[in-house]
């Protein structure tokens, strides 16, 4: 098979060079780029070693695939990373839009564009879950799989998260593993899975403790640091290097809290982001910090479930706990369930982190979110008396709303607020 890995390889090489530039020029900030390099390094190595290439929707737990000796690739995570590198993703969005309307979520049509381009290796199989959180993911993956004859497996994820649902999805995980084994010839190594889970649980523990430290005033963690950690947890949970990375982040933040130091010299405004971000320019965070003293102290994307994964000898319990994980995954649980559940969590997080304002930077493709935007805003105002800035944007495509427009909206918001 022709291993055409141009795009992924190019991104990997670009990230490596950024990482080494950081090491030379800003060694104290190199940690910001370490996770993305590691992620693409794993993809690069897997493809180079000829391991089957498995694309999975980001709300599925990567741990299970790490124990199957396959190359795992989440197009959603990659889309976020690539958007931050400039215009390289745009042509894949345009290619996808030839086939799928442009109102469908950009991050979900990205795999369609990637495959259509022929500039990357066609995956050996797809895995996704319906409807967790949205229709766009499932429609993009299922139609792409159908049109390009890519074997695919879809988990049927119930609307309601309860014990019956966890058992139901857990059983499907078993079927999914059998499907992957059949398609790839690789076997799930249960001992390896337990090991990956132990790493993942350790990372989760540090991740959640780091989240807790951000409740302090001032917050010990920068906005960008928060955002990078959330993405890395999504893509690298179960990888030992990531466990070490997140431990270091936690310890650095703990030390700052003990010294009474904050991430920025003067914290004036504490922000909680409840929808998406501005992936195409993470510099928005430093701009907010420098210009307004506004630090992001929490994001619903970082609201990782608190239950650890099960690593017992009982395989069905492990699958059930993986089901619990995906049904309670950030965004998955917010978009899939009732608006009441979502709104209650927005209020709780804003309150817990002592937010002064909430940022609803909503992806225009996120219908489940925009369809209750007013309800969310009003509920937060009623419950906590704090304002919410709602901005319609495309987190991965600056052509929809430019960074300048986004900044202007923030500026006007702070002018009214401060």
């Amino acid at each position: 098979m022709d291993k055409n890995i141009d795009v992924i390889e190019n991104v990997y090489q670009t990230l490596k060079s950024i990482n080494s530039h950081m090491e030379k020029k800003y060694p104290d900030k190199k940690w910001l780029t370490d996770p993305v390099v590691k992620y693409f390094e794993l993809v690069h190595e897997g493809v180079a070693e000829g391991k089957p290439l498995l694309w999975y929707f980001f709300c599925l737990p990567p741990e299970i695939f790490r124990a199957m000796d396959v190359t795992t690739f989440s197009a959603e995570y990659a889309c976020g990373v690539m958007a931050s590198l400039g215009d390289i993703s745009l042509k894949y969005f345009d290619l996808a839009n030839v086939k799928i309307p442009d109102h469908v979520c950009t991050v979900n049509i990205f795999p369609v564009g990637l495959v259509s381009s022929g500039e990357t290796l066609t995956p050996d199989l797809f895995l996704a879950g319906a409807q967790n959180p949205c229709d766009s993911a499932i429609t993009a993956y299922s139609n792409l799989a159908y049109c390009d004859g890519i074997p695919s497996f879809f988990l049927d994820i119930p609307y309601i998260a309860n014990d019956r649902a966890y058992k139901y999805v857990g059983k499907q995980f078993e079927a999914m593993v059998a499907f992957v084994e059949e398609q790839t010839g690789q076997r799930l190594d249960m001992d390896r899975l337990r090991e990956v889970i132990r790493h993942s649980n350790k990372a989760q523990e540090y991740f959640l403790k780091l989240n807790d430290l951000r409740r302090n005033i001032p917050s010990p963690s920068s906005s960008r640091g928060l955002y990078i950690a959330g993405g890395a947890m999504m893509g690298l949970a179960g990888i030992p290097e990531f466990t070490e990375w997140i431990k270091n982040r936690y310890e650095a933040a703990k030390e700052m809290v003990e010294k009474g130091e904050g991430a920025i010299p003067e914290e004036k405004v504490r922000l909680v982001w409840i929808a998406n971000g501005v992936d195409f320019d993470l510099g928005i965070f430093e701009w907010l910090e420098n210009k307004f003293g506004a630090v992001t102290v929490a994001s619903l994307l970082n609201a990782y479930p608190s239950e650890p994964l099960c690593d017992s000898e009982d395989e069905s319990e492990i699958f059930k706990s993986l089901a619990h994980r995906i049904m309670n995954y950030p965004m998955g649980r917010h978009g899939r369930g009732s608006a009441d559940f979502y709104i209650e969590e927005c209020i709780r997080v804003a309150e817990d982190y002592k937010a002064d304002a909430v940022i609803f930077a909503g992806n225009v493709g996120c219908k489940w979110n925009w369809a209750v935007a007013q309800l969310v805003k009003n509920s937060i105002q009623d419950a906590l008396g704090i304002p919410t800035l709602a901005i319609q944007l495309d987190p991965w495509d600056p052509r929809f709303v430019s960074l300048d427009v986004i900044k202007e909206k923030f500026a006007q918001f702070f002018e009214l607020m401060l």
Binding site: K99, I100, P101, H103, V104, C105, V112, A128, A130, Q131, P133, C134, D135, S136, I138, T139, A140, Y141, S142, N143, L144, A145, Y146, C147, S152, F154, D156, P158, Y159, I160, R164, A165, Y168, K171, Q172, G335, R336, S338, A339, D340, V364, K367, W368, W370, A371, V372, A373, Q374, L375, Q392
Partner: protein, 374 residues
């Protein structure tokens, strides 16, 4: 009498529902063709499928759901906020699509509902999925029994399955009339009549439908058309677009749409455990692209219908901001191209006055089809 059915479809409330309410009997709104109306019916409650006909200009719906979500869902919310659905005694919702379930979230939050039940309907039709759905149906049954102080026996459920099966068979018969070279009933009339199948007591509907089918036999056939068309797409409860197509000489003969064949095409089994029959009946249907991984089955059905109704082209009406049908475009275009069936894609804003734009597109499409025939 049959003409009345067609007329009634143009308004949300109709004399049949008013009469039902006068008898003190409850009406439950439901949101999707996958909601099992048999169970609601078996509880002695009128299942009424909520729709957006007559919503007009949207203001309240747009403000609450923003203008980048499904306009059909926004229009329903608009009607609900205006009080058009005040006759309902509650709602049965499900995970049909993200906009519709969020519409219900807005509805319940702002208007409230004396009875609200959410069904978690699987996206698969495996044995495990059927079992899951059967359990969900049992919960619905129990909730209806408790909330409305009724008993829903297996016998009641069997009767309901049989009653709705009769509707399915009659509607198939109605559609068969469109297979004729010169059909005796217009598409816009069929569309209205089908919509009424979920807007009035089903026994009375079946009687009306039988009369209509008999009456249609004595009509003259339509012969001044330019092409035979199939409609595909999202909820098509508003016949004004179909009328625009008909006015230009497009003869719509069948459909694969949310209020159309997706909601009735295949009769259910009649033997066995009734909840099992209902669960399988709904999940086995692959007509809605909500069910992932079943595009091949769906497109084969389209192919079969295209042949049996002898169509010249497809009009694919996509609701703006509908992810499910939007994504379906990708595989549908590919397959229809391979089948050499011309397809026109229309994005519907579900707004009054869009017929003119649709007319222009349809005219060009009809000319193209006529050009192919030469």
């Amino acid at each position: 009498m049959a003409a009345d059915l067609s007329k009634m479809a143009d308004s949300i409330l109709n004399p049949f529902v008013e009469n039902w309410k006068k008898q003190g009997k409850p009406v439950l709104g439901f949101t999707c063709s996958y909601v099992p109306k048999e169970i609601i019916h078996a509880a002695g409650i009128l299942p009424y499928r909520i729709r957006a006909r007559g919503s007009g200009e949207r203001t309240m719906g747009d403000v609450r759901m923003s203008q980048i979500t499904c306009p059909f869902s926004r229009s329903i919310l608009e009607l609900a906020l205006k009080g058009e659905y005040n006759f309902l005694d509650g709602l049965v919702s499900m995970n049909s699509c993200e906009c519709m379930r969020r519409m219900c979230d807005n509805w319940v939050s702002e208007i409230g509902a004396d009875f609200f039940h959410f069904l978690s309907v699987p996206y698969k039709s495996s044995a495990e999925a059927v079992e899951w759905f059967r359990h969900e149906l049992d919960i619905l049954r129990e909730n209806l029994e408790k909330s409305f102080d009724v008993t829903v026996t297996d016998e009641n459920l069997r009767d309901s399955v049989n009653t709705y099966n009769k509707t399915r068979k009659l509607l198939r018969k109605l559609y068969d009339l469109r297979k004729e070279k010169n059909p005796k009933i217009s598409w816009s009339e069929i569309q209205r009549v089908v919509v009424m199948s979920s807007a009035m007591p089903i026994e009375e509907y079946n009687t009306q439908l039988e009369s209509l089918i008999d009456e249609v036999e004595s009509r003259n056939g339509i012969n001044n058309y330019r092409a035979r068309l199939m409609l595909i797409g999202t909820p098509l409860d508003n016949p004004s677009n179909s009328e625009a197509i008909e006015d230009l000489g497009g003869l719509v003969v069948t459909d694969l749409s949310c209020f159309g064949t997706i909601s009735f095409w295949d009769p259910f089994d009649s033997d066995g455990d009734p909840l099992d029959i209902i669960a399988k009946g709904y999940l086995n249907d692959s007509r809605c692209p909500r069910m992932p991984g079943r595009g091949g089955e769906r497109h084969n059905l389209i192919k079969e219908m295209a042949e049996s109704f002898d169509i010249d082209g497809i009009v694919f009406e996509r609701m703006m901001f509908c992810n499910i049908w939007g994504g379906e475009t990708m595989s549908l275009e590919k397959d229809m191209k391979e089948l050499n069936i011309p397809m026109l894609i229309i994005d519907s804003e579900y707004a009054p006055g869009s017929e003119g734009q649709i007319g222009t597109r349809v005219e060009a499409f009809l000319e193209m089809i006529e050009g192919r025939a030469k």
